[in-house]
Amino acid sequence: MKNIDSRTHVRGESVYLDDIPLIQGTLFGVAFGSPMAHGVIRNLNVADAEAMPGVVRVLTHKDVTGENQIGGIIPDEPLFADHHVHYVGMPIAFVVAETDDDARAAVKKITVDIEPLRVITDPREAQALGELIIPPKHFRLGDTSTAWAQCMHIFEGCADTNGQEHLYIETQGAYAIPQENNGIKLYSSTQGPTAVQRAVSRSSGLPMHQIEVDVIRLGGGFGGKEDQANMWAALVAVAAHVLKKPVKYSLHRMEDMAMTGKRHPYSSDFKIGLDNDLKIIAYEATFYQNAGAAADLSPAVLERTLFHCTNSYYVPNVSATAYSCRTHLPPNTAFRGFGGPQGMFVIEAAIAKAAESLRIDASVIQEKNLIQTGDEFPFGQKAESEAPACWHKTTELYELNAIRERIATFNNENRLSKKGLALMPVCFGISFTNTRMNQARALVHLYTDGSVNVSTGAVEMGQGVNTKMLQVAAQVLSIRSERVKLLTTSTYRIASTSPSAASATADLNGRAVQLACDELVKRLKTVAAGELQTDVEAITLKDEWVYVNDQKTDWDWERLLMAAFSKRVSLSEHAHYATPGIHFDPIAAKGHPFAYHVYGTAIVETTVDCLRGIYEINNIKVVHDFGVSMNTAIDRGQIEGGIVQGLGWMTMEEVIFDKTGRLRSNALSTYKVPDIYSVPDEIAIEALKTEQDNLAIFRSKAVGEPPLMYGIGAYFALRNAILAFNPTARIPFDAPMTPEKVLLALYDGRTSFSTNDQTASYVAVNS
């Protein structure tokens, strides 16, 4: 089944936040962000702005009717900076005017005197100063301190990954419309309607039941609109509440890029020990997460780094420590993978370092250490592993040995062009690691004409979750899909939603839809049994018809609904689902936090132009553990899209902050995401079909995040290509592998000046 939004998408008729017809009298807001990364506000002058044409009001922290606070996990993030500023772009004031142009003209008239304080942009510097968001977290398995003695080979090193801008093509925004008796209706481009409702409730001082958050759809989210949508929603809501007028704010791209957090950059240390047989005996890692100025989702992201610090491998002795470091950057946040990719990169770097030092291919170490069913993850859960199955199917199906031979021949025959190859196995846990978030609700209404409305807590942002929800309802009710409509995500229909995140949205909400529909079917069968004077057990509903003992009757779906209504049987059902069997003790750092894991293996091939330092990712060949896909078109799209996003993170996407905390890659002209020419010629995807039961909806395993991590293979493939040209190149483990880093590595030790300077991400950039 195709995405149910396809028709309106391709006709330009789908409605996003900025397309909602405006209510008369709507005002427009624009935030004034701090020009400094860290300091004390000495004087704020908004009078000139207030005197500008069309300006209705300039709001500051003094105007907040509730608490000046929007922090989710930890209350450490004010809505408006009051005394201190903690990052460039931190909202200090909110101009509300009659037109968007008026608001934007006025915001330029605001001036602020800030007494500067020390600016920290480096997480290691923050950690050394004790600037931590939460106390450090540790995961331990076995005992590394004694395990080193058993290791034949021990390697240590550093591995860094940069951030990543979400670059949802629809920017953030919100539109608040006051209702009678102080209620507020909010349209928000958010992945977390309840998070917005909570933040608005707190900052406005209104109880949650006064606030309806309604989400039609998002023009992309990728984690960037999980908690970071709260700010804009709270600003317009407070303004609307104070002014009693509808207020809208749709961010311009540069505002969005400058003011919102991104994927967390990490700096990490690793130590890996292998025995004579290349089995990994011990692994230690220390992660320094660049959290930015406030907690946001950083503690949860940090934890997932630890959950995935051994990726697809079994390591009997693990000690991993993670620091969430407070810096003066916008608060970093969720991004597809949620800290997992950053953890996986480090163990892949450790394996690459071991392989390069031992002069063997990294895949030898990777393959020998794949996690097996029954092996224990460092957090105590036992694996039900598809890792070896995915690996072996990949190498056989795509004929890895033949690829290797072809590449060796190519590299022998070409002087200025070299190919590199890497394998990337992925193992990703499905569930919110915060166990209590693994619950969802669905509301299903059957109408007497046979049509059906379904509401869930899932937010449609391109991942196709609404299509999957519709499939679940149609299948369980056994009716044509055209009868089912998915409604917008509203906190008035579905309360206490978990954000659409963690790849688990379809699983959780799909199960809730299934439960609701199961209950309705049960009721309808009882009605049918009464009407047809038979036992309930004899009734089945199939393709819109009632069957008795597998014999088709003359009762169809519509007749059955009308009969149920006449008998005063409820045709509506609200269901609640909570993932069974999962638990995690954060103090002991042990438990069974994941409903299941998703596995897969990718082969990545690259070609480097060794004259210019530019490169191509030629192809990616994947075997992916789908379980049993309930929608192959959507799942394939998720995998292709995830892979390319991962490639972007590892290659061209370079977030650049200067030492003063100012974002230099602040527009699409300076921050590059993959375009159509930069994607591989071929992305081959083969399913590993697994028949055993799992906790996924219809056994169709979650697919949102895991594919992103196949992209990590591109980094190591590029490294191998560089080493084919310059075997003595010293290449720091420092992603992304931009053309700059490639060229400097290709000519490392071959030029009369040092090419080992810091690259753009870490230098103070000229203004």
């Binding site: 391709v10 391109g462 196709g464 330092g613 700059e740 030029t751 000046f753 090419t755």
Partner: protein
């Protein structure tokens, strides 16, 4: 239509401006066709087409992604009369002022919708090439533009048509498959007029068949007065740079629009010289017979420069005048030792391009001077030419470093050399010391290495978002090597890669 440049033309412009001045006192209307609707608007001509269609006409299918021409979510079609027929090209409406719309047919996604999905829309649906859907109208419009172009219906050309559209969800593979389907469907066209064929195939609504006559009528009514300008305060060509840099200031400014001035259009050969009128777009250059004849690789170079819709809008004159130190075509024409003709309304003055740049974003140009023409000597059979560009993303990106070379070697001796580089100085730079070093010498590998060492003494790159100083120095060295290896394949690669060299 080509006209002779020089003072008579300029005088014509001033007459024209005077007329406009009188006219603007009674609030001039901007008239064009938007989809199937006649538009006569008195909004400021600096307003972007994007804001006009979304917030004035409430056509919300055109999306806002970046407002700087880098994402393509706001792509529209712009049709203009060209020898009796309407020629459609794509444009990013965020960078197109209303002042560049008069007399044209502007098509948004609403203007191509039929009751059933068009083949482009059907292909996007069938291949699941839409996920969140926000970028989708832009892709649909770019592919619709492809259907209306005279490009061969190949997969490669269909993909080239969407090179300016960014999608963050799909990873493009499904979109490639959709583009291929579209190309396949166009194979049935046997030289029919593209719009006619598109209407027959239900690619477009049938009102398109009447657009040529409607535009013709409109053009008669406009009587050649396409502009809604007063005496200029600000000149705007294609708008692709000025609307990125100064969006807020310019929208209400008094603007002299240059893009559609007939005397600023046209590319022609006169003897050994090529004359390019300054409002010629990059696409005009790509499609020019003169350019194709003398620069067979031009299309390959141009593919490295921005994207299809931007190339459709951006003018060569604008590329020179915006004075970016990494302007791709500035670097290209620097190596051709081009000369510029500037006119202040009374007289024409010529300036060599490499003397045009006085400092960072500082030009040898008076406020009232307009760049009218670029003139350069065409390569002869002994001349070799190459252009190199490296950026973080190979396509649709600004160069970290770019460079061009024109060189003649006779009996192993370099008898002519012109070498330029961008991204290594405050201005687009002619590498004059390097040229001086090379001229008259025998071309050898070691000469190239030595020349590169000279180059290093005359450049002053800075570290910025496009790379560190170290990188830019190394990269330019490599690009100079690339020039020589490409133009003189007999040179020994190993000797050019000697560890001692930069």
């Amino acid at each position: 239509m080509l006209m002779k440049p020089g003072p008579p033309l300029r005088a014509r412009l001033h007459q024209h401006d005077k007329k406009m001045e009188q006219k603007t006192t009674n609030s001039t209307l901007i008239s064009f066709i938007l989809n199937n609707k006649q538009i006569n608007t008195s909004l400021p001509p600096g307003t972007t087409l994007l804001d006009f269609v979304r917030y004035n006409q409430h056509l919300t299918g055109t999306k806002i992604g970046c407002r700087e021409g880098d994402c393509g979510a706001c792509t529209v079609l712009v049709g203009e009369l060209c020898e009796g027929a309407v020629r459609y090209r794509t444009a990013t409406s965020c960078l197109m002022p209303l002042g560049n719309a008069p007399g044209k047919h502007i098509v948004t996604i609403e203007g191509i919708n039929l009751d059933v999905l068009t083949p482009v829309q059907q292909a996007m649906t069938d291949e699941s090439a839409t996920q969140c859907g926000f970028c989708t109208p832009g892709f649909v419009m770019s592919l619709a533009g492809f259907c209306l172009s005279d490009k061969a219906p190949t997969r490669q050309n269909a993909i080239a048509a969407i090179d300016g559209n960014i999608c963050r969800c799909t990873g493009y593979k499904s979109i490639e498959r959709a583009a291929e389907r579209v190309a396949n469907q166009l194979e049935g066209c046997n030289g029919e007029e593209a719009a006619q064929f598109a209407v027959e195939q239900s690619i477009l609504p049938d009102y398109f068949t009447h657009i040529p006559e409607r535009l013709h009528t409109l053009s008669l009514r406009l009587n050649g007065e396409h502009q809604n300008g007063t005496l200029s305060v600000q000149y705007v060509g294609g708008g692709t740079d000025v609307y990125v840099q100064k969006h807020d200031e310019i929208k209400d400014a008094s603007i002299q629009f240059l893009s559609d001035k007939p005397y600023l259009k046209g590319i022609r050969q006169e003897g050994r010289e090529c004359l390019i009128q300054a409002a010629s777009t990059v696409t005009d250059l790509i499609e020019s017979v003169v350019i194709q004849t003398y620069f067979p690789d031009f299309k390959t170079y141009a593919k490295l420069v921005s994207s299809t819709p931007i190339r459709n809008m951006a003018t060569i004159g604008g590329n020179f005048v915006n004075a970016s130190p990494i302007g791709d075509f500035t670097i290209f024409f620097l190596a051709l030792d081009a000369t510029l003709a500037l006119n202040d309304g009374s007289q024409t003055r010529e300036v060599p391009l490499h003397r045009f740049y006085k400092g960072y974003k500082t030009l040898d140009k008076q406020a009232d001077e307009v760049l009218e023409q670029i003139r350069f000597t065409l390569p002869n059979s002994a001349t070799r030419f190459n252009f190199e560009k490296v950026s973080k993303r190979t396509h649709l990106d600004i160069a970290s470093v770019n460079s061009a070379i024109r060189i003649t070697v006779e009996e192993d001796i370099i008898t002519d050399i012109c070498l330029s580089a961008g991204g290594v100085a405050p201005i687009p730079k002619r590498l004059e010391k390097t040229e001086e070093f090379l001229i008259g010498k025998e071309l050898t590998e070691s000469l190239v290495i030595d020349a590169i060492n000279v180059t290093q003494t005359e450049i002053s790159p800075i570290s910025d978002a496009r790379g560190t100083e170290t990188y830019k120095r190394l990269l330019l060295s490599q690009l100079i090597k690339a020039h020589f290896l490409k133009l003189f394949p007999g040179l020994n690669v190993e000797q050019l890669l000697t560890p001692s060299a930069l």
